[in-house]
Symmetry: C2
Subunit: 247 residues, 2 copies
Amino acid sequence: MVDDLHQPNSLMVRKLESIFPLTDEEKHALQQVPVVIKTLKADQEIVSIGDRPQHCCQILEGFTCVYKLSYAGRRQIMALHVPGDMPDLQSLHLEIMDFSIASISPCTVGFIQHDDMRHVCERFPRLTAAFWRETLVDASIYREWLLNIGQRDAYTRIAHLLCELLLRLKAVGLVEDMTFTLPTTQEELADAVGISPVHVSRTLQTLRADGVIQTEKSRVTVPDWQRLVEAGEFDPLYLHQQGRNGP
Amino acid sequence: MVDDLHQPNSLMVRKLESIFPLTDEEKHALQQVPVVIKTLKADQEIVSIGDRPQHCCQILEGFTCVYKLSYAGRRQIMALHVPGDMPDLQSLHLEIMDFSIASISPCTVGFIQHDDMRHVCERFPRLTAAFWRETLVDASIYREWLLNIGQRDAYTRIAHLLCELLLRLKAVGLVEDMTFTLPTTQEELADAVGISPVHVSRTLQTLRADGVIQTEKSRVTVPDWQRLVEAGEFDPLYLHQQGRNGP
DNA sequence: CGCGCAGTTGACGTATGTCAAGACAGGTGG
DNA sequence: CCACCTGTCTTGACATACGTCAACTGCGCG
């Protein structure tokens, strides 16, 4: 991944190729799209609710989150995004941002002008379909999070989230020996699963005590995938990762 | 609305015209798309999780919901759909359904073959954009529901849901004198906001006692919009209803 | 070396869940 | 037209998962 960065759009090509093989023409066109790369520290806003952005972004390194605040000032994280993800494709068609995006860890992010996106998509309608599909998978993940937060207890919610992250990170080569980096604080986890930080702390402890996960600093390792799947009531269907259904 | 039914696609034309004016050609093409109309009783499945549908649908009359079950058999309703909505546009690009759709009230639903959808979209790329936009608004609603369920208390959740329904029903002409029909049981409401049916009952009672809503059978009337908005911490931005922001 | 943030722990509070009984209403059949 | 039945809503008593608060620990970083 790191060496790929010299060719900034290669991650996008890989992403779209995971949907269907691209023609050389399509690949070439994508490589031509200008990308502005920025590096960010942790906890910086990338786009803010109410903005009318003229570009969208792709995460190249690090983790970001999509969030909103309630009037009481409580934060709900609606999505975590990992390298390869494009969290604000929707801005192509919805003028005003209805959520904010912030970095969770240090990040590198690529920005692409809407106009440039539209041009490639016009020339290659299959790319439109691929980007549309990306946003549909995002929506599917939102739905699963609704089920998670609305109907499952804290223990299951966290296990479920870890299952999801493992599979998504695996898909971009960021899992080795069932171990991945989770650069979130417990407070961020709490905001993602809709429970309080101290309850996250306690729940993680029982997950560790049950041998479902092991942690060391911000590295998480899953000694027994099947156990984690059961703990999280996890069914990977909603990720729509073609061909994959386990690590 | 009822008389429109003789021209089944007119609701779709209206829906897309709320996004941008359609050319006569586009309208004409849409009118040519074959639609199969079915009528359903309440509580019937329209599409099931795991299906690989070859068509998508538009709600013409009545209410439907999108839902999933947890392993414990608890149901989370992720979305309520009202006339004009197209709940499974995603099946155009995601082969396997990751949720089920069921009628909540008696319904009439129009079914359109994927192939027919794809053909119009190919001929008129702006229609692709319009349908894509529809799915993006759905996603935005999922996000707001995440905030609602994850961070707000029962009282606020229900008030918020009522705000949303009022605006969406208003947009399709189903609100008169701040009154609309809500053909859901309290159990369905409960599954939509992630609380228990008996707590829904109690919460509705205090909403009524506070004068925020009035109910009579399944009719809900909102005597003071501003009060309901405050009770629900409601900001209509996420609905992306162009030009509108209140009833 | 010390500051500060993240995580932990315990005591305690509460919003909401559960269970079970009763009231009510709409529809059906005699 | 009445009696019944079924599904929905309501009510009360009680249980509990989770939240809150506050103090303490430990580690990383300047």
